[in-house]
Amino acid sequence: MEEFTGILTIAIFLPIVAAIIILIFLQGKNARNFALAISILELIITSYVFLEYRSNPDGYQFIDRLNWIPIESFKTEYFLGIDGLSAPLLFLTGLLGVVAIFASWTITNRVKEHFIWLLILQGSVIGVFTSLDFFLFFLFWELELIPMFFLISIWGTGRKEYSAMKFLIFTILGSAFMLIGLLAIYVSTGTFDMTALPEKISTAISIGDLIIPASWLFLLTIIGFAIKLPVFPFHTWLPDAHTDAPTAASVMLAGVLLKMGGYGMFRISATMFPEQLHNFSLWIAIFGLINIIYGAVVTIRQTDLKRLIAYSSISHMGFILLGLAAVSGDSLRLGFSGAALQMFTHGTITGLMFLTVGFIYERTHTRYIPDLGGLANVMPILASSILIAGLASLGLPGTSGFVAEIIIFMGSFAAFPILTAIATVAVVLTAGYILWMIQRSMFGKRPEKFDSLSDAKAHEIIPITMLIISIIFVGVYPSFISDIFTLGIEPIASAVGVIN
């Protein structure tokens, strides 16, 4: 059973070891440059894994499998591997890791610690996306909390400590639900092996071996992930955390941490409980719809740039639920792969949004929209960046946002025509709040104090360019990513398809 390729292990532990090296040896700028070098190395590793998987997409690859706690009554493994579902998200994490380092290029406060936490965060998120042992998955899932807590509470703005604590308590509450589900699954089936669990669970269901009814288990796990995604009514931590987090943390939070919720829904809830997914699909769709509409409506009213983007994230995350719920007929593959693609595209688009807003805030020292205006003249690069991100976010054809949402709509329309029809209203609302936000903050009359502001510098242009390229590239060549996702959701799709 034991095998070891090593690449994924390196991807997880390289940043963590680098963090320790920084802790002991490096200071200030050296720490920053070292962190950048590591994150670029991470990007290379994750791109290599992604491209390699793409060239030969089949099952689980790059497997690292060792015994971890070989005690009979509690058998866990160190089991890593990627499949079609995790490969693109792994790449996304590598990409945003570099972006996050650039985003915190000019911080002056406790520089060393900042990069330590950022690297540990990246390592643990990669751990979540690559773990194939449920216990190990949970370990990384929890591990990611601590760096995020510190990043928000130390380098944030406003009520940063309150927001950090709120983020943490909400997420731990979600983990608590997940832990109960995880233990119940383990006690019922005797394994944490995620590749074997779907079959073992269906056997356990058929012979009545589950200690908690399967629908409860499904709900326990999906609620755990729903808090992370976040789903109404568990979303209240997100606007606070996003608004008060430093730019790098916002980028990571919106870009990859929310995706952990979506990923978990696919990897755990849907894969292990396809029948329950089918039974609850209407509810998931309804909650998705609430997220989409509620998020969009609340976004319109926001006057803080970051809070606005945070609420728009809630709206966009609703699409993932809608896609996940599209379980009927032939359309289910469309819905699933659309939802998976939405995770990737939203990661890059919202990452770019937060990044640009962060850079603007560094200059204007305010994010209050009525105080801004006319910035497009003094900072054309940043303004075009936010415009591109905005257009992608509202789903302009040619950008990645369009592809993901149209596929989700196509998938969910067959399953829930009325709900989908209502959801399309959100497209209009999104266009409204994005364009209105850009118009108020970037165009119009410029306050005099902003006349002398400078435009983006090299260290800001690099990450912006990286994200814009990925947005446009996936927009015109979506199958580059979606092919892999389609492969990744196939096991779930066929399991759900059987029930149909």
């Binding site: 706690i69 005690i71 009554s73 591990l143 400590e161 608590a176 006690v187």
Partner: protein, 501 residues
């Protein structure tokens, strides 16, 4: 069973109990040494060497395979099995760390250093005897040997608070011992034996006994007695005052070693005697309710505390609740799996490392000024990053977040509860961990926050890491390492439990 006259002391018995005997002798040596030496610095050194010697003896006995069949000593009143040895490791390790913490701290007691170390060692020898005792009277005497020196230690600071704490501890432990003794008497009265294995025989043979309400009453009384020792709700009210008033190393000692000894007693009595009987299930339900109560009460009150010692006192109440999850599931199980009891053992070992780390840091940060308010921890990340990281690890472990030993322990205990059908209790425990995250992380937040008044930081001297500091760092490293590599302790805990089935 012949008492008194026919007792012989064969060499083998002495060999089996040599760790305990050596600790008791060490206590005597320390107090004599205190009389004859002016240089008090030598006392902790002697104590340290003595404890290490006792650890080596324990390892020697542990390696000796002949004890598996031949571990009985002193007319079957002791059985030196791996279960007892596991607890001896915990207790000796705790004592060793507490002594290391006391090198600087105990200088406060200038003329009473000898008494301090010797009381500490006597108490430890009582706990070690408790872990191996298999006879009710011996258990009781060992328990008293544990409590009485502790009461002295608590009062040793001789301040008002310390004296009050001492008298409180003395009275309450006397009451709880009396209740416990009454329970034991009932068992003796109905079974005619004070030896646990004979009692177990009687109970497994006679259905009448199991259904006899007097036996249930005895179990409830014993539960109440041991509830005091482990400071479980609703018997927890002594803990905050005593923890606050006692010298801080003693607080650490009580919170870890005394709790371990209490659980050793509970597992020994309930697991060996009542395992698999109907009465065990009834008792398990009582324990489950007490467990839920302890967790909730401890965590909710801890949120409001502004004194770190009181906060940790309530936190230990909650931790006792978590450990009792294992006790409850063990009695539900009919012996099919020993996830519950071995979970308790693992958790206790992990809890010892975690809590000792926390208390060690408290001693380093607060004991000079005797100011234990949470504000003392502000800016610790700048004054001493190493201690701040160690404290963070300890707090994270107490919440049960990886990569720490507390995480593995909690998962183990809660899965035991799941397995034995106590799903509601597992849910209770998990949700309680969420509540506890708030106050544990509040400490972390205070340490890493930069206070706006920068000058107050300038005035604060750095904290030199001497012997106590090294001990803190070592136990923090243990908290981390055994969180990632728990296998050795898990194996040890499993064999320990197998030795008493």
């Amino acid at each position: 069973m012949q008492w008194g006259l026919s007792i012989k002391m064969p060499l083998h018995d002495i060999y089996l109990l040599s760790p305990e005997i050596s600790i008791a002798c060490l206590a005597a040596v320390v107090i004599v040494l205190d009389l004859f030496t002016k240089n008090k610095k030598i006392i902790p050194v002697v104590a340290t060497i003595g404890v290490i010697g006792s650890v080596l003896l324990t390892i020697l006995i542990h390696q000796d395979t002949s004890i598996i069949n031949n571990g009985n000593a002193f007319s079957n009143t002791f059985n030196v099995d791996t279960f007892g040895i596991f607890f001896k490791y915990i207790i000796l390790g705790t004592v060793l760390v507490v002594i290391l913490y006391s090198y600087e701290y105990a200088e406060k007691f200038n003329n009473h250093q000898g008494e301090y170390y010797s009381l500490l060692l006597f108490s430890a020898s009582g706990m070690m005897l408790l872990a191996s005792a298999t006879e009710l009277i011996t258990l009781y005497i060992a328990l008293e040997l544990t409590s009485l020196p502790s009461a002295g230690l608590v009062a040793l600071k001789r301040s008002r608070a310390s004296a009050e704490a001492g008298i409180k501890f003395l009275l309450l432990s006397a009451i709880s011992s009396a209740i416990l003794l009454y329970g034991m008497v009932l068992i003796y009265g109905f079974t005619g034996s004070s030896h646990l294995n004979e009692i177990a025989d009687q109970i497994s043979r006679s259905q009448n006994l199991v259904s006899n309400p007097a036996i249930l009453l005895a179990m409830i009384l014993i539960t109440a007695g041991f509830g005091f020792k482990i400071s479980a709700a609703p018997f927890q009210m002594w803990a905050p005052d005593v923890y606050e008033g006692a010298p801080t190393p003693i607080t650490a000692f009580l919170s870890v070693a005394s709790k371990s000894a209490g659980f050793a007693l509970a597992i020994r009595i309930f697991y060996t005697v009542f395992n698999g009987t109907e009465i065990s299930v009834e008792w398990g339900q009582i324990i489950a309710i007490l467990s839920a109560l302890s967790m909730t009460l401890g965590n909710l009150i801890a949120i409001r505390q502004n004194n770190i010692k009181r906060l940790l006192a309530y936190s230990t109440v909650a931790q006792a609740g978590y450990i009792m999850v294992g006790l409850a599931s063990m009695s539900m199980l009919d012996g099919t799996s020993n996830l519950g009891p071995s979970g308790i053992l693992f958790y206790l070992a992990g809890y010892a490392m975690t809590n000792l780390t926390a208390f060690g840091i408290i001693i380093l940060v607060c004991s000079k000024s005797e100011n234990y308010s949470l504000e003392k921890f502000s800016d610790l990340a700048r004054i001493s990053p190493v201690l701040a990281i160690a404290m963070t690890l300890s707090m994270v472990s107490l919440i049960g977040i990886p990569p720490t030993v507390g995480f593995i322990g909690k998962v183990y205990l809660f899965s035991a509860a799941m397995e034995s059908g106590l799903i509601w209790l597992a849910i209770f425990g998990v949700l309680n961990s969420v509540i506890s995250a708030y106050y544990y992380l509040n400490i972390v937040r205070i340490m890493f926050k930069r206070s706006s008044k920068n000058d107050s930081y300038e005035k604060r001297p750095s904290i030199p890491l001497k012997i106590g500091g090294v001990a803190v760092i070592l136990s923090a490293i243990a908290t981390f390492v055994f969180g990632l590599y728990p296998e050795p302790i898990l194996n040890l805990a499993n064999t320990a439990i197998q030795s008493i089935i």
